[in-house]
């Protein structure tokens, strides 16, 4: 293990940038504040590259800042570490983050709160980097909470509109539920380890002693930890905040809700893989939940009309894929899909943002159409990224998603049912992505006149990041090619972290190619159906859907009414309960007790003070009484 003092700079420089923007942003002016923010992330990116290149083979770099908590024998240090897993995350966060920062210079260029925006964005980068470089579970949790905070701040960025703040609240509160379970998991882990005499939350120490905990306890611990991940990474049942989070600025959606924060759950399970390996029941649960979420979200995405909502549900669905991989113990593959997904999803979101920006805020796809001519560059980046998402041959998504499907079939922990679910979802994915594509870019332009007059392609500060991301969507997949094509660089890189489990897969090459074709086939079917229905307006099902699809269509359009169900079952009663406590219980009982106590004291003192009559003879009588008592005591006591 090498130590290096440069590691601390990676999270701390964006923090510094954020602080400068908070305190001196107004003096710097909007453009300079933005440039400062971009520069700090760029710096972190460069250092991350350096760490990546200098990482010893299969080893780790560690950087200890100082001891935070010390209560012998428990000790928590503020320390950063970088192993192969961390470097992957670092590159994603700083690389994609940098591109999004640059893009934001253009997107938020005319916004009043640009300085505040960049301050929050840098703060987010800091917390996310803290999360992935933390060398112990407690520090990871600090980063975990911090990104939740920044997510809240950025979702409700345009706070003057009340719906945005409500969405921010929803995100934070739903996350909190997950965080609560996460905390319980940490406590239980800490306690269990402690009962064997090991008081620590350090990852390395935990890893070497993980086997001490009984399987039952381990299952409980990992389930709780995974519950935390469902909150952060938007799986069933805590995904409901992510579609609402689209109220925030689009670059925020790209960075936080596609590429980085939502992947924190995956990262956490990967970092604690040694715990999950010891709890097979949890892994099965994860796989099932991931598969269900992937399918479920994809069905909802089929009918959505808001350009960002489709992408939000798509993110939930793709996260489900990542958890599918985790569920069979294939952590490297999960991270690989995380990696590729970051590129094409960010590209998709930023392209959508480009369109929204050009249309001055229009997000309803039914009002778009035929935008290909207005947005030439965005058109192509969008197309490339969409193809990558659905797994078109040799794009990044192809390699990662395909591998997951293959794992479902061939890994001893996988199951054909899960494969089927994932396979159908792939088809649905293709359908809804290209439904969106055709609705937005082809067909008749349905824009209003005055909007159409001002439609323009985005400036280069926005399109260049788009192009870079699109390029990445195509190229980065080659890092994880299946064995029969080229050796799998990705698995080799992460091998020291996760162990050899994923390297050994049974099944022949031809079988693998067969199933690859199956996957491509259903994706192609989805694409074709989308083309068939949406390329021309007359064939669009929505025209006749309310009657023919009817109830089914409405169910999907309204997201299975899950939000409403949560409201009636959980939010409503809790709010009513809280209101009851505030309006009834608190005044009547708490105040009653306190005031009642005071009233008792007061009334008793009102009684007792009547003894002070001011009449000396009364006092003398009392003297006499006292004297009698004392005499009686001496006589008889």
């Amino acid at each position: 293990m090498e130590t290096s003092n440069l590691l601390r700079l990676i999270p701390l420089v964006p923090l510094l940038g954020s602080l400068i923007n908070i305190f001196f942003g107004r003096r710097l002016g909007r453009t300079n504040a933005g440039l400062l923010a971009c520069a700090s992330v760029a710096f972190s990116f460069v250092v991350s590259l350096w760490v990546f290149l200098r990482l010893p083979d299969g080893g780790m770099i560690k950087d200890v800042l100082f001891t935070w908590i010390e209560s012998q024998p428990f000790k928590v240090e503020i320390a950063f570490m970088a192993d192969p897993l961390t470097t992957v995350m670092l590159l994603v966060i700083t690389g994609v983050g940098l591109l999004i920062h640059i893009y934001s210079m253009g997107y938020m260029g005319h916004d009043e709160g640009m300085i505040r925006y960049f301050a929050y964005l840098n703060l987010f980068i800091f917390f996310m980097l803290l999360l992935v470089t933390a060398d112990n579970l407690l520090l990871l949790f600090v980063g975990w909470e911090g990104v939740g905070l920044c997510s809240y701040l950025l979702i409700g960025f345009w706070y003057q509109d009340h719906t945005n703040t409500i969405a921010g609240n929803k995100a934070f509160i739903v996350n909190r539920i997950g965080d609560f379970c996460f905390l319980l998991g940490i406590f239980l882990l800490f306690w269990e380890m402690g009962s064997h005499g090991i008081w620590t939350l350090d990852f390395l120490v935990l890893k070497s002693h993980a086997a001490l905990i009984s399987p039952d306890k381990m299952t409980l611990i990992t389930l709780l930890l995974f519950a935390g991940a469902t909150g952060k990474s938007a799986q069933i049942p805590l995904y409901v905040w992510l579609p609402d989070a689209m109220q925030g600025p689009t670059p925020v959606s790209a960075l936080i809700h596609a590429a980085t924060m939502v992947t924190a759950g995956i990262y956490m399970t990967a970092r604690l893989h040694f715990l999950f390996f010891l709890a097979p029941a949890t892994l099965t649960t994860i796989a099932i939940l991931g598969g269900l979420t992937a399918f479920f979200a994809a069905t909802i995405a089929l009918t959505q009309n808001d350009i960002k909502r489709v992408l939000a549900y798509s993110t939930i669905s793709q996260l489900g894929y990542m958890f599918l991989a985790v569920g069979v113990g294939a952590f490297s593959t999960a991270i690989f899909h995380l990696f590729t997904h970051a590129f094409f999803k960010a590209c998709l979101f930023l392209s959508a943002g480009s369109v929204i920006h050009g249309l001055q805020g229009e997000q309803d796809m039914r009002k778009m159409g035929g935008l290909k001519s207005y947005f030439p560059t965005t058109y192509w980046t969008y197309l490339i990224a969409a193809l990558a998402l659905i797994g078109a041959p040799f794009t990044a998504g192809y390699f990662s998603k395909d591998h997951i499907l293959w794992l479902m079939l061939k890994d001893p922990d996988g199951s054909p049912i899960l494969w089927f679910l994932a396979w159908v979802t792939a088809g649905l994915t293709a359908f809804y992505m290209f439904r969106q594509f055709f609705m937005v870019f082809h067909g008749r332009c349905k824009l209003e006149e005055q909007v159409r007059a001002h439609v323009h392609e985005s400036p280069r500060v926005m399109t260049v990041p788009l192009m870079l991301l699109a390029l990445g969507s195509v190229l980065v997949g080659w890092l994880g090619t299946p064995k029969y094509l080229h050796k799998n660089e990705w698995l080799d890189w992460l091998h020291p972290v996760f162990g050899p489990k994923e390297d050994i897969l049974h099944g022949g090459v031809s079988e693998e190619i067969l199933f690859t074709f199956l996957a491509l086939g259903i994706a192609g079917l989805g694409l074709y159906l989308a083309y068939r229905f949406y390329y021309r307006e007359e064939t669009t099902p929505e025209v006749g859907a309310p009657q023919t699809g009817g109830m089914f269509y409405r169910l999907l359009l309204n997201k299975y009414y899950i939000d409403e169900i949560y409201d009636t079952l959980i939010v409503g009663p809790l709010t009513r309960g809280a209101n009851w406590f505030a309006d009834t219980f608190d005044p009547a009982i708490i105040d009653g007790i306190v005031n009642g106590l005071a009233n008792r004291v007061r009334s008793s003192s009102l009684f007792w003070r009547q003894f002070q009559t001011g009449n000396v003879q009364h006092y003398l009588l009392c003297f006499l009484g006292g004297t009698l008592l004392i005499l009686a005591y001496y006589l008889y006591g």
Binding site: R609, Q610, Q612, T613, G614, N615, V616, Q617, L620, L621, L624
Partner: protein, 103 residues
């Protein structure tokens, strides 16, 4: 020459007179009479002291009585002066009219 008078008879007399004085202090509504009741109590105590002096054959008891009388004189005089002042203020000798320290 020994006396055949038992000590406790004298003490009981002293106690009775003392109790009578207490009654007077508590129940009368005239400040001067209250003061006189106090003098009565002092006298009862004097009786007891003298009885003890006789019982033990020691002059100490009588010396104490001497001092008690002195102090009683001083106290009676000052007390009466205060009563006069109070009367000037309140035009009354009733302790019930002097309840300013009431709640």
């Amino acid at each position: 020459m020994g006396s055949t008078l038992p000590l406790n008879y004298v003490l009981m007399l002293s106690g009775i007179v003392f109790a009578i004085g207490v009654v007077g202090v508590i129940i009368r509504r005239n400040l001067i009479i209250i003061m006189m009741s106090i003098e009565l109590m002092l006298n009862a105590v004097n009786i007891a002291f003298v009885a003890f002096a006789r019982f033990h054959g020691s002059m100490d008891g009588q010396v104490i009585v001497f001092f008690v009388m002195t102090v009683a004189a001083a106290e009676a005089v000052v007390g009466l002066a205060i009563i006069i002042t109070l009367f000037r203020q309140r035009q009354s000798l009733d302790p019930q009219d002097m309840q300013l320290l009431k709640w």
